[in-house]
Amino acid sequence: MSATPAVNDPELERTGRRSFLGALLAISGAAVSLLLAIPLVRFSTYPLRRVAADADWSDVGPVNEFDSLTAPVAKTISIERRDAWQTTSAQTSVYVLPAKDGQFRILSPVCPHLGCSVRWVNDQNKFVCPCHSGSFTADGERLAGPPPRSMDTLDAKVVDGVLKVRYRYFRQLVATKEEMA
């Protein structure tokens, strides 16, 4: 055999054909695997891409119950939280204020100071926090005491004659209303 192999050397030709086929197999194998990996990746990353549904609105009660309110009223709502294939439900209360210009206003009872539940005191016509004596007007505006801001309003809407609220938690001890994730 000569030092420089001829092009028509059958051994070299065989090796060349083999490595070409090998590359072809590797490429098509990789392509098929990638294609098959798409549903698997989407399947496993589903919880990350799931957008929070609009299901986090809780029922407060039928609208006509609040038509003739003259003072804030506390209502217990249940919050359904989805944890993948389970739901957990928790009870909490909110204040429904008398409608102003046909708009229902709902306040979170959580004091913006340290998070105690603010109480409606009918005799004094104001909200008073039992922990550190912060007080608020009947509209939830800050009157006196340590709270850094007024009571927090919650999103409200009426669907098919039922008043609904979107319950949220807000950061305490800050002057602006910041939602907690």
Binding site: G29, L36, R42, F43, W85, S89, V110
Partner: protein, 487 residues
Amino acid sequence: MTNIPTPEPQSPNNAGTRLVAWIDRRTGIHSLLHESLDEPIPGGARWAYVFGSGLLFLFMSQIITGVFLALYYVPAADHAHTVVSYIVKEVTSGSFIRSIHAYGSSGIIIVLVLHIGQTILYGSYKGRRELLWLSGCILLALMLGMAFTGYLLPWDEKAYFASAVGTNLIAEVPFIGPSLQRLVRGGNQMGTLTLSRFYVLHVFMLPAMLIAFIASHVFFFRKAGAAGPINENPVAPKLPAVSFYPRQVIMDAVFSVAIIGILAFIASKIPMDLGPAANPADTHFLPRPEWYYRPAFQGLKYLSGRASLLGIVLPAILAVIFAAVPFVDRGRERRPWRRPVVVGGFLLFLMAYTALGVASYRDDYSDPGMAAQMHKQDEDAQAFMKQPFIPESAAGSASAALASADPRILKGQALYQAGSCSSCHGDRGVGTAAAVALTGVGQKYSDAELSTLLHTPNAKMTNGGMTPVDMKDDDLAALTSYLRQLH
């Protein structure tokens, strides 16, 4: 001993070549590849030889899809159906991946029959291949076990009732039957322990055994060598051998891609259905196994009274005869038309099995009452598939817990929510950014200690923003009992 490193041979070429050379020196990958790819096949590559690789490919597909399904699956009777329904109805590609996995089991059974059929027609079990054949028999049994155990896991009606019938059959085993049945079910009745047992078999034990026996099957195959075509001598091949790579590799790859293509097509067009959750009290449900177990199921109909023992003995006898084939049929003759007993016996078995299967479906749909119930079951499953996913309410959620709580705890809970406790300590005392969790507080303090702490908080609590709880003794006691049961 010295600390001088072993000198590495110098490769003159570029970094890539040097890396490959380094890996090869450490692993011997080249000779491994050579060993696996250059296996000689007497007479060259053929489409008839693709089924073994096809099975290996399908098994890998089952492992991958199975591992991904396990991301969401929970093996407990009270959750299994919900999570499968979550996979099917909510999770992206969930129905597709579950369908590939479920139809993949049917695919394995079909390719197994083709693989066994090819082996019998070609007489390739002959010539010192008894252990190769026996390991294959064990693999067949393990695969049937995978199909049987996997079928129960969705815990829908057909899964539950088919497995109830299947495990009832175990009681027919002579002598140890009833004990064996209790062992498999984890009790006298089907229940959540049956599901965990099937899950452990399906996910841990059977796959581990499958991998071990696949390895030995491949080892015995390589030890004996490829048998080649029917006119080849199975012990000392005479035909010119062609290596496994590239022709046979490409044929195997094309076959595997065809299988996954067919599976993916069926899975996307006709997704595997999920019926309503198993209801053991349903007396109308007609239990039916998967199609490949239908003939065995039908066979049991013809055996009543004392003959019903045959339902378990007959398959055992058939299995022993099947396993004994390479020990009995020992001649060098491989042409199928010269081996009428083995080939004829196999074909006869296939025809009888198919006929029983056909009879089973015909019985179901020829009787009007039966047919109506079968259609109703199909419609129920389709209707359930169309319903949106309904999440399960968690055991710890307020609505579930309140139903069973005692009045004092209920009162305590009301006080906990009405007072300001929940705003800092969170719903059910789970804790928030503002205050620590109260769960498990009952294990740390006695009733009296809890009451005292509530009444006069210690310094650490006061610094955290805790205010003294001022309420009547009754109420304080109720609040304490509520706090004690938080977990």
